[in-house]
Structures are given as structure tokens and as C-alpha cells.
């Protein structure tokens, strides 16, 4: 039986590839090499140039399937799924990887059912079993307290999603070129009864915490809404985003898109700075995969210290402004 290819689902915004696309290639490259097959990337969107598509080759892709269509400009599950299912039917990939993003986490389960495939969400580790050549998919389960390794022994493709920011991209090789295959399925796009009419940006300066490299989060210790400015200033000087505990969101200090934890977002930034957060288990489950956790807290017994790499025990109303001041000084130096 011939082994088929490894695919990644690239994501674009306004014709440009998003970071997750390159992260998936780093994951996929290793799997494709271990299986001895090609690494292909699926790009679905509108107005994506060949030049942009070729950047996928620099980061590991051998083949790019490029579906440009005005009806695919913004993610809509039925349309994207129809395109992907047509490609799956034609090429029968071995493995499909996508980002655990709002679109990846919608497209993959929908397509998984239609393609009669197995799907594992939020994998932190992906490897090929040497003997069986099955994809070993490891993910945190039960609130991140255990790691489960999952296989899909009898169904193909084997599908998995990977959290954004959990993979280091490969060193680019600007000499690499990919074969671009153009795909068009206008009839598959037009059948959808859902249409995207626009996008409403987040209010103020806020943007999404899902893909942030640095997150400064506030909890109950901020005491009142007026003090949220303290962590906003710190986030700004760090070039990061503002996060919040459920407590801070329920009190109306910070809006829901910023909520981190089991009933909010699971994040894995490079740096998570927890300000005035005691560390409820639901919150900790949402930050476990962060590369570095720093706590600023007045309680030496706080749960968060069990997960933190560095902690300052003191009055956050002194520590945070001082930190902002010193960072500003450093930035201006």
C-alpha cells in the first residue's frame, strides 16, 4: 500500500498567510520526512498571490493546493469544507493538520465526519509510530491534568489540530520552491446558505489573546475596574495583550474575549504575567502550556506559585507601575 501525503491547512487574512500556517509546516515536515512522503499545504481564501503561496515552500511545503475564490475570502465552514473534501477525495492524504483556531476547530470536526476520519483536538505532540506508521497524537485531557496519546488505527486521513504558538517555525530556506496546484470548485462554494457579511473589530485597542506571545492578565487582586489600566499599560510596554480571570470578567472589569481559563480561552504564550491572580484550578488549566509564567501577588501561598517560574510577592499597586517604568526606560535606552 502506498503511503499518501501529509497536509497542513494554512490560514490567511486579507490575502496574507497567518503565523499558524508556518507553525503547522514545522509539525508536518517532520511527519512527512518520517513517512517518506510529500508535505502539502492547503490554502483556501481569496487574492492569495503565487509569491505569498511560495513562502510556504520556504518553511517546508513541497506542494501547495491554492483555492482562490471571492466566496472564500472569509472562513465559512460549509464552503471551506466542500473545497477540502473535494481535495481529500482526489488525493487521499494520510494526515491532515490544522490550527486549533476558531476556523480550524470548526472545519476539522465537520470535515472529519464527512470524510469518516478520526480527529484529535489540541495536540501538543505529534509523532509517527515506527512500526505501525500510525500518527501518535498526544493531547492534554481532563482539564490538562493528564496527557493522552491517541491513534486512529483504521481510518484515513488521520486528522489533528495543534494550538497556535505551540510550535517553533523552521528556519526559512528561500531557495526552496513548491509546486502550486490551483484548485477551483465554484459550484461547491455557491451551495452554501451561510454568507459572511462583515467583520466588527474589537472595541478599543484590544485584539485577540489566542495568538499573543505575551499576555498580562489581571484577577481579583486588581480590586476595581479603574485599576485595569495598570495591566493595560504594562501589556502595552511589553507589546502584549491583556487577559483576565473569570472573576475579573464577571465583575465587568474586562470583556469576555479576554477571559483565560476553562470557560474562556486556553492560551500558550511565551510569557504569561499573572497580576493579582490567586490561581483557581480552572484558570491554571488555561495557562499550563505557557512557556514562562510570572506571578505578581501579595500571597505567598497562592496556587499560582505552583505553576509559576518567577514570582514577586508584594503589593501589585507598587510592583506593576515600577515594572512598567523600568521597562519603558529599557525600551527608550
Amino acid at each position: 500500500m502506498t503511503m499518501h501525503d501529509v497536509w497542513t491547512i494554512s490560514e490567511t487574512l486579507n490575502g496574507k498567510l497567518k503565523q499558524i500556517s508556518f507553525e503547522l509546516l514545522a509539525r508536518g515536515r517532520k511527519l512527512a520526512d518520517d513517512l517518506g512522503v510529500a508535505l502539502c499545504s492547503i490554502v483556501i481564501g481569496d487574492g492569495i498571490s503565487d509569491e505569498e503561496a511560495q513562502t510556504l515552500a520556504h518553511y517546508g511545503a513541497d506542494v501547495v493546493y491554492l483555492a482562490n475564490d471571492s466566496g472564500l475570502a472569509s472562513f465559512e465552514c460549509t464552503r471551506y469544507a466542500n473545497v477540502l473534501l473535494s481535495l481529500i477525495e482526489t488525493h487521499k492524504p494520510e494526515v491532515i493538520l490544522a490550527g486549533a483556531t476558531s476556523s480550524g476547530r470548526t472545519l476539522m470536526p465537520y470535515v472529519g465526519i464527512k470524510a469518516h476520519a478520526g480527529l484529535t483536538a489540541d495536540c501538543t505532540e505529534l509523532a509517527i509510530d515506527e512500526k505501525t506508521k500510525n500518527l501518535l497524537q498526544t493531547r492534554p485531557a481532563i482539564g490538562g491534568n493528564i496527557m493522552a496519546t491517541i491513534i486512529t488505527p483504521n481510518h484515513r486521513p488521520q486528522m489533528a489540530t495543534v494550538r497556535p504558538r505551540s510550535t517553533k517555525i523552521l528556519e526559512p530556506d528561500y531557495g526552496r520552491k513548491a509546486v502550486i496546484q490551483y484548485v477551483k470548485y465554484p459550484d461547491k462554494v455557491s451551495v452554501s446558505t451561510i454568507s459572511v457579511t462583515g467583520i466588527r473589530p474589537f472595541e478599543g485597542q484590544q485584539s485577540s489573546i489566542d495568538e499573543a506571545e505575551i499576555i498580562v492578565s489581571g484577577g481579583k487582586g486588581l480590586k476595581k475596574k479603574d485599576n485595569v489600566g495598570l495591566i493595560e499599560e504594562l501589556a502595552a510596554v511589553l507589546g502584549g495583550e491583556v487577559g483576565a480571570t473569570r472573576d475579573a470578567v464577571d465583575r465587568g472589569w474586562i470583556s469576555y474575549p479576554h477571559q483565560v481559563g476553562l470557560s474562556g480561552k486556553t492560551v500558550s504564550p511565551k510569557l504569561y504575567l499573572a497580576v493579582g491572580i490567586s490561581g483557581a484550578i480552572q484558570h491554571l488549566a488555561g495557562i499550563k502550556t505557557s512557556e514562562c509564567i510570572v506571578a505578581i501577588n501579595n500571597d505567598e501561598q497562592a496556587n499560582i506559585l505552583g505553576l509559576a517560574d518567577f514570582a514577586i510577592i508584594g503589593d501589585l499597586f507598587d510592583v506593576v507601575p515600577e515594572l512598567t517604568r523600568q521597562l519603558e526606560k529599557r525600551n527608550n535606552a
Binding site: 472562513f75 465552514c77 460549509t78 476558531s102 476556523s103 476547530r105 470548526t106 472545519l107 470536526p109 465537520y110 470535515v111 465526519i113 464527512k114 469518516h116 476520519a117 478520526g118 480527529l119 484529535t120 483536538a121 501518535l136 492534554p140 485531557a141 482539564g143 491534568n145 493528564i146 493522552a148 496519546t149 491517541i150 486512529t152 481510518h155 452554501s192 446558505t193 451561510i194 459572511v196 457579511t197 462583515g198 467583520i199 466588527r200 473589530p201 474589537f202 485577540s208 489566542d210 507589546g239 469576555y256 470557560s263 514562562c292 510570572v294 506571578a295 505567598e300 509559576a308 517560574d309 518567577f310 514570582a311 514577586i312 510577592i313 508584594g314 503589593d315 507598587d318 510592583v319 515594572l323
Partner: protein, 252 residues
């Protein structure tokens, strides 16, 4: 005007109501009030899941169906979404299916979109607001990475909703009384009538082959501000720590 029927789905099998499903119930109840609809709540799980359905009834849901059978156990999200979809087919005449964003235990977010795929209806995920604009049309906003994606579409459809969509009501005393006196039907293999090859462990493409408890190997360096350590020094030590790990951007 056709009534809108909301159906709430809970994935997983732990017998506490997934907190994120409350928002699905609340959304259904609001649409019920607006459109004079019937709301049916469905869950799949062991006998104890009965309690969850009673809670939903006491909040104002009209009907409840409990999917429970030995043959259903061991189902992964593929088989679970299949069983739920088959049950929804049996209920029939469903205009709108609403699920929570994901279960806080399994955390896969796969069952909602999976049901839509089995039923071959559109899925709109991460919905932060929804308006039913006519008996067969809706508009919604999806909470995505870049903001709120605005969509319009036709019913039937499946929505997965996020916490932001509504504040959840509490059960009423009258609702509690009513739910106490209601016997919730339990549907097994005979009632749902699924393809036996698509349910339970046998019907699940994925297999768990290894479970590990990760060791927390973080060692925390803790600085306590006091007489011996000023805020200023503690903060500069933190900055040194972050610089050493290259966490303060490129200009280092």
C-alpha cells in the same frame, strides 16, 4: 409562523452540567420567548445525567431526552455526534440546534460541528450574538481571532455559542416543581436506532493508547518584597530573568 425548535446538546458523560452549555440553554430559552418555540434539551450520558436534564427543565426547557445505553459508552466525538444527530432526526422538525462552545472536561469542541456534518446542515461556531430575523433566517456574530465575524444564513442550522452571548437565568421555583414531576424519557439503541457499527468504541475511529500524568517540573523563583528587598530591586531582577530567557522582544 412555524415554531422555532431549539435543541441543546451536551457532549461527554460526566453528570454535572457543562457550564458552557448553560449559555446554549439560555440562548434557546430567549429565542423560545421571542418566537413561541419549543425547546428540547438532549444529553447523552449515564443514568446520573438525568439530573442535568431536570436542571434544564427547571430553567424553562419544554422537553428533555436522555440518551443512555451500554452500547453508547466508549464513543469518541465521531460516534457521540452520530448518536446525537440520529436522536435529533428522530425528534424531527428541528429548526435550530444550539450547543455549548465545548465541554470543559473533554475540551475538544468537536461534537457541535460533528452533529451539523451528520445532519448535513450548516454550522456557525463561536456565536456571540444571534438574531432570528424571520422563521427561516438568522444573523449572527462569531467571536474569532480578529473580532466579530458577521454572518447571515438560513435555518435549519447548528450554532455553538460562547459565554458572551447571554447572562444565564436561574431556575424558577415553578420550573423546579415541574421538573421534579416530569419523567424524562430514556432513549437507548431501540429508540435511537443507530447503525450499530457507528456507535460506542467499535464505531469510534480514535483510540486512546496511553495515559500519562505530566510531572510539573517548574521551579518557582520567589522574591518577597520587604525590609530586605525593595520593589525596585525585585523588579529589576524580574527584568534580568526575562531578558535571560529572551522574552522581552528583539531589541535585546
Amino acid at each position: 409562523m412555524d415554531p422555532v425548535t431549539g435543541t441543546m446538546i451536551r457532549s461527554g458523560s460526566v453528570s454535572v452540567l457543562n457550564p458552557l452549555d448553560l449559555y446554549a440553554i439560555e440562548t434557546a430559552l430567549r429565542l423560545k420567548e421571542e418566537w413561541n418555540a419549543t425547546v428540547t434539551v438532549i444529553t447523552m450520558g449515564p443514568a446520573g445525567a438525568n439530573r442535568i436534564l431536570k436542571e434544564a427543565l427547571s430553567m424553562g426547557c419544554d422537553e428533555a431526552v436522555h440518551l443512555s445505553a451500554r452500547e453508547f459508552s466508549g464513543s469518541d466525538t465521531y460516534a457521540t455526534s452520530y448518536i446525537l444527530a440520529e436522536a435529533i432526526r428522530k425528534i424531527g422538525d428541528v429548526d435550530l440546534i444550539i450547543t455549548g462552545e465545548r465541554a470543559t472536561d473533554g475540551d475538544t469542541a468537536q461534537v457541535g460541528p460533528g452533529i451539523a456534518a451528520w445532519l448535513d446542515i450548516p454550522v456557525v461556531s463561536y456565536v456571540a450574538s444571534v438574531d432570528i430575523t424571520s422563521p427561516s433566517e438568522f444573523t449572527a456574530e462569531r467571536l474569532i481571532e480578529e473580532g466579530y465575524q458577521q454572518v447571515q444564513g438560513t435555518l435549519p442550522a447548528l450554532l455553538t455559542v460562547v459565554k458572551e452571548i447571554a447572562e444565564v437565568r436561574l431556575p424558577t421555583l415553578r420550573g423546579k416543581k415541574r421538573s421534579m414531576n416530569t419523567t424524562i424519557p430514556v432513549w437507548g439503541v431501540a429508540e435511537v436506532d443507530p447503525d450499530p457499527l457507528k456507535i460506542g468504541l467499535k464505531g469510534s475511529p480514535t483510540r486512546v493508547v496511553k495515559i500519562e500524568t505530566p510531572k510539573v517540573s517548574r521551579s518557582c523563583r520567589t522574591l518577597v518584597i520587604g525590609e530586605e528587598l525593595s520593589t525596585e530591586v525585585a523588579v529589576s531582577e524580574l527584568i534580568e530573568f526575562l531578558e535571560a530567557r529572551n522574552l522581552l522582544g528583539q531589541e535585546v
